[in-house]
């Protein structure tokens, strides 16, 4: 790894010049939704892809968790995206990894921490990046579409909004960014590099997540469809509501108007709805 962890700590306070920012990507173990096989997590892989698109300096991959056959298979999926090594902070199964990750990030002091919005296994609450940001005192931005540029300790980025819209934000570094399905799709994982890559294991004390162990976890049930409930005082109203056509009229019809008047009415509606930008 080209990184020297200790030299980065001082770089945090200084404005970042033309140099490449140091980036850490937190990756987790994914699970295929149908086959339940261990794989790289989709959103985390997108985060890795975004980190790779930033420049020449190789981002550092970080995973905290238990090391076994399953997780190795998943982690090698990230190595196959073109990495020599991945840091694994070893934790017992069922551990709360926040503290361990937080310590590690404090030491490494990257400028940027990228990660997927939520994990594909266990609680998957999407809370981890927020807790890390809170503990480190860094700003956090969710749902990145792309990072436009990084200069002078500030990142300019595009945030994905619903309906394909984008918003430009400027964020002071260091910061935590999360990535979800609207980010560019990750590159394929190549078999050779995945085999060759090294998983650097770092021993670390782990804290058990006691609350999680007490919860009942079961495969997701299908959620009941909401019924169309008719609140009517009498049978007659209920019948009328049930028999009514789904889309009643009630629209405004402008007949015998000049095209200009018609256009005026449409223009007014578009403005009221706020779709004219």
């Amino acid at each position: 790894m080209p990184h020297d962890a200790n030299s980065q700590t001082s770089a945090r306070a200084q404005p970042h010049g033309g140099g490449q920012p140091s980036v850490a990507v937190l990756v987790s173990m994914g699970r295929h939704p149908l086959t339940e096989r261990a794989r790289r997590a989709d959103q985390d892989a997108r985060a890795v892809e975004m980190a790779l698109s930033l420049g020449d300096v190789q981002p550092r991959l970080l995973h905290a968790g238990h090391f076994d056959q399953d997780s190795e298979a998943a982690l090698r999926g990230y190595l196959g995206m073109g990495f020599d090594a991945l840091e694994l902070i070893e934790q017992e199964p069922g551990a709360d990894v926040i503290a361990a990750l937080c310590d590690r990030l404090r030491d490494a002091a990257p400028q940027l921490v990228l990660t997927g919005a939520r994990a594909e296994t266990d609680e998957g609450s999407g809370l981890l990046p927020y807790l890390l940001a809170e503990a480190l005192g860094w700003p956090i931005v969710a749902s990145l579409a792309s990072i436009e540029r990084i200069e002078q300790g500030e990142a300019t980025l595009l945030q994905a909004l619903p309906r394909g819209q984008r918003r430009r934000l400027r964020v002071r570094l260091p910061a935590v960014f999360t990535v979800d399905g609207s980010a560019p799709a990750p590159r394929q994982s190549a078999f050779g590099p995945a085999r060759r890559g090294v998983v650097e294991r770092i021993a670390c004390t782990s804290l058990q997540d006691a609350a999680f162990a007490e919860w009942r976890i079961q495969p997701a049930r299908k959620r009941p469809k909401r019924l169309k409930i008719v609140k009517a005082a009498s049978a007659r109203d209920r019948f009328k509501a049930a028999a009514a056509k789904a889309e009643g009229g009630g629209g405004q019809v402008l007949a015998d108007v000049t095209p200009e008047q018609g256009a005026e009415a449409i223009f007014k509606l578009l403005q009221e709805e706020g779709v004219l930008r």
Binding site: R31, P33, A119, D122, G124, S125, G126, L127, A133, E134, V141, A142, L158, L161, P162, R163, G164, Q165, R166, R167, R168, L169, R170, V171, R172, D180, A211, W215, R216, I217, Q218, P219, A220, R221, R226, I229, K231, A233, S234, A235, R236, D237, G249, G251, Q252, V253, L254, D256, P259, G262, A263, A265, I266, F267, L269, L270, G274, V275, L276, R277
Partner: protein, 427 residues
């Protein structure tokens, strides 16, 4: 003197005698009409006369309408029905035992349906113990156009306006929520778990409060004992259900509870007692970025201009879509005839769109097409034919030639854009 009770024994006798030829007239005179079908008997029992209910229908058959909507409209009836227009209970909780805070998204300035569901969930928590009712406190940021706040089950309303909450300002909002926490210490915080709305803010709040939230909650069950609220939450990317005790901070999915229908709540305004501290913003919102509407997937486009067989001037249509910055759609005929690419087809065999505004130009509204636009909010039709199905579906239909109307619309919008540009330049 006027109010003296004067009895006319003869009329009373006629009113009792159903077979008397003047019976109906006298009943009406005595103002008893249909209401007289029920009275309090001497023993204090309600008596009913089944012969007196109902009315004679148009075909000469006696009809009984228990909804009361069709009975002879006497003065008292009208009064009653006027009151029936809003039978919802008005609820004003003076001294709540506790508060349940809700932060609705208010996307586009209105309560979204998920906001209403979350408010319904908050009501479940607040009204669980009728002896010690809680109140639902809604925290709204920025301007809004929602009029029916009291109908959504809000008891207390904290409306925070100001420039510091405009746009994407999670830090300022979080600071405001922390001020709410210090002032009222709500028992629960409920937020919609919706992308970039409550999902983001709620996780920030939970991290700041040091509470472990329940995310993706879709069901709430009252437990057996006192503190026994249990919730069911989606985890592991939606593949697991987690059953756990209800924590203080809850991020809930859509349809987690029924929205409030039956009651109007007071929605009393409350204010923060202390001014908000200045927050150091490390995230700056630089505003929305113009995205190429053609690049937006049809299924998630917000504003669609859709062309059908009635479009003759295709250059004009493309120009209109460009000027309006709308995503282009098409009916199947327009696609089959080669005027539009296949991926633009809206309808049963094309894309199901969810646009907020859908403008159908020269589309007749075949059922296969209407299926595709079921979930559109506002539909505008431009068509020759006033009788076609699209006009019936539309919220606004303009009858006339499509190319002329589009040309006029383009002129209007260009003028509007120019004015905007000028005012921006002047500023």
């Amino acid at each position: 003197m006027k109010d003296d009770l004067r009895r006319d024994p003869r009329k009373e006798w006629i009113a009792r005698n159903r077979l008397h030829p003047d019976h109906q007239r006298v009943l009406a005179e005595l103002g008893r009409g249909a209401a007289s079908a029920e009275w309090l008997g001497p023993q204090g029992i309600m008596r009913k006369d089944p012969h007196r209910v109902g009315f004679i229908g148009p075909s000469g058959i006696k009809r009984i309408d228990r909804s009361g909507a069709q009975q002879a409209a006497t003065a008292s009836d009208i009064r009653q029905r006027g009151a029936a227009a809003d039978t919802r209970q008005s609820i004003d909780i003076e001294t709540p035992a506790f508060l349940v805070a809700v932060v609705p998204d208010m996307s586009a300035g209105r309560l979204s349906s998920q906001d209403r569901d979350v408010l319904g969930l908050a009501r479940q928590l607040a009204d669980a113990d009728p002896q010690r009712p809680g109140a639902v406190l809604a925290v709204l940021f920025g301007e809004h156009k929602e009029e029916a706040l009291s109908e959504a089950g809000i008891d207390r309303l904290l409306h925070l306006e100001g420039n510091e909450f405009a746009g994407y300002t999670p830090e300022a909002r979080l600071a405001a929520l922390m001020a709410v926490e210090r002032q009222w210490a709500p028992r629960h915080w409920l937020l919609p778990d919706s992308a970039l709305g409550g999902a983001d803010l709620g996780r920030r709040l939970a991290a700041r409060l040091g509470e472990r939230p329940a995310t993706g909650v879709w069901q709430l069950n009252a437990g057996t004992d006192e503190a026994g609220w249990q919730c069911l939450a989606r985890g592991a990317a939606g593949t697991r259900d987690i059953q756990r005790p209800l924590p203080r901070v809850v991020l809930a999915l859509a349809e987690c509870a029924e929205p409030v229908y039956e009651a109007r709540h007071a929605a009393r305004r409350v204010e923060l007692s202390q001014a908000l501290p200045e927050t150091l913003g490390r995230i700056t919102d630089m505003g929305a970025v113009a995205v190429d509407p053609a690049g937006v997937a049809l299924a998630e486009a917000e504003f669609i201009l859709s062309a059908g067989n009635g479009v003759k001037d295709w250059a004009g249509f493309h120009r209109a879509a460009e000027v309006l910055q709308a995503t282009k759609g098409a009916s199947r005929v327009a696609v089959d005839d080669g005027f539009m690419p296949r991926d633009r087809q809206v309808g049963a065999t094309g894309t199901w769109v969810t646009a907020r505004v859908y403008v159908a130009v020269g589309i007749s509204g075949a059922i296969q097409h209407l299926q595709g636009i079921q979930s559109c909010d506002k539909v505008v039709a431009i068509n020759f034919d006033g009788g076609c199905d699209m006009v019936k579906r539309a919220d606004l239909a303009v009858l006339g030639d499509a190319s002329q109307i589009l040309a006029a619309l383009v002129a209007l919008v260009e003028q509007y854009r120019q004015q905007q540009q000028e005012s921006r330049d002047a500023a």
